[in-house]
């Protein structure tokens, strides 16, 4: 295995703040040696998008780069694809680099499909001869052969994307960089992109895949790194990286101590809600298809006993449409005694929710019939669910196609 991408102490600093007359003259004064005055832009305007990032990628690796918005993923990508230069550090690359984030850039609406194929190919770094040699293949792959002499502005957006993708797909780079966030187009096209990553990977080429789609990372990647605040916070196999990504961030229990909008008699109160995974690690967000434990930490303030205690949650979409309800009464678990401190833990195996944000209401009732409430809070938790590999196929169903995920088996029956 040889190293094809080597990133060494890479850092990137951005100057924030507006450029205006003041900074112009401040810049001039600075340049001509005058003392830096207090009125010049403060140092806090400097922002490090990447700090001392180092990692290596071997030939044939499919590296998933995970991270939240602002973690430095896009900056890393822009440096790797040479759109902007780093502030310090170096990157060594071996082989032709191409990035799928550029699908269709440089398409000119007035030019014909044919002209645009050549232009786009040249922008991506192909020579005229290379494009000419592959032209028939590209045309066939795109499926818009009949319209190659029509100006691209008369194309539907789908046709444009298909043609652009056909060019990119025939670039045959040794190192492919893909930014899922920037991969425009409809779901079908995104699937095609993801399919292309699989193809490229199977051919033994190297792929850097920037994503926060844990499902895609899990099924496609072989390795993963997690960026956090511009630094590499984790490096390892893809599933380790996904775990690290989910547990890393702000993974504290959400305290409810200050919520004034709760109701109930106050005999016991939920103090915080915590998300945990199967192994008990605190999570920042849940993953579709993974076991989720919801920990409702409580404190008891009364000596009264409630033999039929019922802890109930309602999960709704952000617009308030009910998704499901759950309670210990429904599952047949009864809690007869309540220790002074503890937690109601609701385990949801293989979380069947698509990527979205949900609202969780809870009610701790003395009884499942008489709604004599000890503690009750609407909108107690914003439950972030990120895309996970629910179906174990790498395929993802979005919230728009349904608020829950249902597993099934398909078969084809012959009826004679």
């Amino acid at each position: 295995m040889s190293v094809v991408v080597k990133v060494e102490n890479l850092s990137k600093q951005f100057r924030l703040g507006m450029l205006n007359r003041r900074t112009f003259f401040a810049g001039l004064r600075e340049r001509f040696g005058a003392k830096k005055t207090d009125s010049s832009a403060p140092a806090t305007d400097d922002f490090w998008a990447l700090r001392d990032v180092s990692f290596e990628v071997n030939e044939g690796d499919v590296l998933g780069i995970l991270g939240r918005n602002g973690a430095g993923k896009s900056t890393l990508l822009k440096i790797l694809s040479q759109i902007t230069a780093p502030t310090s550090g170096r990157v060594f690359l071996k082989g032709r680099v191409a990035s799928l984030l550029e699908v269709g850039t440089g398409f000119h609406p007035d030019l014909t499909g044919r002209d645009n194929v050549f232009l786009n190919g040249a922008i991506l770094g192909m020579t005229r001869r290379e494009i000419a040699a592959k032209f028939d293949e590209i045309a066939e792959f795109s499926g818009v052969e009949r319209f190659l002499d029509t100006p691209v502005k008369r194309y539907s957006s789908g046709m444009k994307v298909r043609l652009a993708f056909a060019v990119a797909a025939h670039l045959e780079p040794e190192i492919l960089i893909i930014d899922e966030v920037l991969a425009v187009g409809d779901v079908a096209f995104q699937q095609k992109c993801i399919g292309k990553i699989g193809d490229v990977a199977r051919n033994g080429r190297t792929v850097l895949f920037v994503s926060h789609n844990a499902a895609a990372v899990e099924s496609l990647c072989t390795r993963g790194i997690v960026l956090e605040g511009g630094k590499v916070s984790f490096e390892g196999t893809q599933s380790q990286a996904i775990t690290a990504y989910s547990t890393s961030y702000g993974a504290a229990a959400q305290s409810l101590a200050d919520r004034p909008d709760r109701t109930g008699n106050g005999d016991a109160r939920i103090t915080s809600i915590e998300l945990r995974d199967e192994e008990g690690r605190t999570l920042h967000h849940a993953l579709s298809g993974k076991t989720l434990d919801l920990w409702f930490h409580y404190e008891r303030h009364s000596e009264r006993s409630y033999p039929n205690l019922n802890m109930r949650i309602n999960v709704t979409t952000q617009l308030g449409a009910p998704v499901f309800t759950q309670s210990n009464h429904l599952t047949g678990h009864s809690f007869s005694t309540l220790p002074e401190r503890g937690a109601f833990v609701c385990r949801i195996p293989r979380l069947p929710l698509p990527e979205s944000t949900y609202r969780v209401d809870y009610a701790l009732n003395s009884d499942y019939k008489h709604f004599d409430s000890l503690d009750r809070l609407l909108n107690a938790l914003e439950l972030h669910v990120e895309r996970g590999d629910y179906f174990k196929t790498g395929q993802v169903a979005g919230i728009k196609t349904g608020v829950c995920l249902v597993d099934a088996q398909w078969r084809l029956e012959l009826i004679p």
């Binding site: 040889s2 190293v3 080597k6 060494e8 951005f14 100057r15 450029l19 112009f24 822009k78 440096i79 790797l80 694809s81 040479q82 759109i83 902007t84 230069a85 780093p86 502030t87 310090s88 550090g89 170096r90 990157v91 060594f92 690359l93 071996k94 082989g95 032709r96 680099v97 990035s99 984030l101 550029e102 850039t105 440089g106 000119h108 007035d110 030019l111 002209d115 050549f118 232009l119 040249a122 922008i123 991506l124 770094g125 192909m126 020579t127 005229r128 100006p151 920037l182």
Partner: protein, 287 residues
């Protein structure tokens, strides 16, 4: 870098380093992208005229109309002398030379602003854009030259006192110098516009003013001899004068003026290219 001694030496094909200064432009890489330069030029030419009613006819119409207006305004109304040269030939010769230079400056200066959507998504040597602009404008110039030659032949047939001479062979050198000066000036402005947008608004205006300071609408012989040196500091003046001298046989220019203006053009080009190269590496952070 201290690689472990047993590791086989790796031949990297590309090393990305922090923003560098000045002159380490990779000409080899630019050469590898020569097809792109050509295709960009082709795009600008065909896309610019494809959807217009008159099409490529604009290439012809524009210089003729401008020349006609100039002949009327400066020749007829203002009665600026043209050294007995027919007005049409005099103004057109100046305008076509100037037009080539001015277009190079104007278009190049917009490189970063106009191409930001592409530049922010894909890497290629950014200098491909200015070089494609030179090519595009060259075509426009050659078409105008064709018209000019027809007009020249017509006036000579009518017996006008114009004398094309052997100095026409200098034309390629003059074109190269104008391209150098144009790309240099354009690159300087382009580099500055990424930080100071005001310049993109001022550049068209500035180029226009520069034209009136060049011997486009008047022959340099109309300037008092003692004041001429100021005009010769303008690197475009010797070029335009040589241009006229080659085709029309009148013009005031000495080899020393040409050498100085070539030197100035070279310096401006080097300054422009180095500024451009420095800017291109971080331009997309600002635009």
């Amino acid at each position: 870098m201290p690689d472990s001694p047993s590791a086989p030496p790796i031949t990297w094909t590309k090393i990305i380093v922090p923003a560098r200064n000045a002159f380490d432009i990779s000409w080899r890489e630019l050469w590898a992208y020569r097809d792109l330069i050509r295709l960009l030029a082709k795009r600008d030419i065909s896309a610019g005229y494809m959807q217009t009613v008159l099409g490529p006819f604009w290439f012809i119409l524009q210089p003729i109309l401008t020349t006609a207006v100039f002949s009327f305004l400066f020749g007829r109304m203002a009665k600026m002398g043209t050294e007995n040269i027919p007005h049409f030939l005099f103004y057109m010769s100046g305008l076509m030379a100037w037009g080539y230079f001015a277009e190079c400056v104007n278009k190049t200066s917009m490189t970063f602003l106009r191409n930001a959507p592409i530049f922010s998504k894909v890497y290629f040597p950014r200098l491909a854009v200015p070089f494609s602009i030179i090519l595009t404008n060259l075509l426009g110039f050659l078409i105008q030259l064709g018209i000019f030659l027809v007009a020249l032949a017509f006036y000579m047939w009518k017996g006008a006192p114009v004398h094309p001479n052997w100095r026409i062979v200098l034309l390629p050198a003059l074109l190269i110098q104008m391209a150098m000066l144009g790309i240099g000036t354009g690159c300087i402005v382009a580099s500055l516009t990424t930080r100071y947008r005001d310049l993109s608004l001022g550049v068209g205006f500035g180029v226009q003013l520069w034209m009136y300071a060049s011997s486009i609408v008047f022959p340099i012989s109309r300037i008092a001899p003692d004041d001429r040196w100021i005009f010769y500091l303008n690197p475009m003046v010797p070029v335009v004068e040589s241009f006229r001298f080659a085709f029309l046989g009148t013009g005031l220019v000495e080899p020393i003026h040409l050498i100085v203006s070539f030197g100035v053009s070279l310096c401006i080009m080097l300054l422009g290219l180095s500024m451009f190269h420095r800017t291109e590496q971080t331009a997309m952070d600002a635009v």
